[in-house]
């Protein structure tokens, strides 16, 4: 296939500029997907920390299971 034939087969693409700004939509999507800790998650994390403070000898056993 010659260069002319190739050019005829693939006509130039017109108006390749975006019609709108995609960045705000990207930021909005990121914000939607972000998981925010609930009060229950904070409470559970607090309970776990207290538990580890009360039973420090069990930390090794916990690490073994992780």
């Amino acid at each position: 296939m010659s260069g002319d034939e190739l050019r005829r087969a693939l006509p130039p693409v017109g108006d390749v500029e975006l019609q709108r700004d995609l960045w705000p939509a990207m930021l909005r999507r990121r914000e939607e997907r972000r998981v925010r800790p609930t009060w229950l998650d904070w409470a559970l994390a607090g309970v776990a920390m207290v538990w580890l403070a009360v039973f420090p000898e069990a930390i090794g056993v916990l690490l073994y299971q992780l």
Binding site: G60, V61, L62, L66
Partner: protein, 130 residues
């Protein structure tokens, strides 16, 4: 590419957290127990069993999605803790007792719930299997 090897990516997302956390585990063991204990027996479970079970567990979550990822992860210690205790007994790992394993189960479920809800979910998102 995103459509291919979905379960492999789910497995990889699952093993990421415990594999990275292994460094913390090893440091913790070293500091807590001044490890004179047999390392090759202690490290077997956290290094070989735990990451693989996380990977398979995440694969199962991506396959069925029967509940939230946090709840799915919180159930895993119900398998891991007895398995870890059994292996510790078989390999004669010191300081792993039945009482210790039972004590650690509830807080392990809490830790797993949070780890799966935030960390594994993040890696699932990154690898496109969320």
């Amino acid at each position: 590419m995103r459509q291919n090897h979905r379960y492999l990516r789910a497995y990889m997302a699952g093993i990421t957290v415990p594999t990275m956390f292994l460094l913390v585990v090893v440091t913790g063991f070293t500091l807590l127990h001044r490890v004179a204990a047999p390392w090759e027996r202690i490290i077997m479970f956290p290094m070989a069993v735990v990451p693989n079970l996380w990977g398979v567990w995440n694969l199962l979550h991506c396959r069925w999605r029967w509940t939230t990822i946090g709840m799915h992860g919180a159930i895993l210690p119900l398998l891991l803790v007895p398995a870890g205790f059994a292996l510790a007994r078989a390999l004669e790992v010191p300081w792993i007792s039945a009482g210790g394993a039972a004590t650690v189960l509830p807080v392990g479920m809490v830790v797993y719930y949070l780890a799966w809800k935030y960390l594994v979910a993040f890696f699932n998102e990154v690898l496109g299997v969320a």
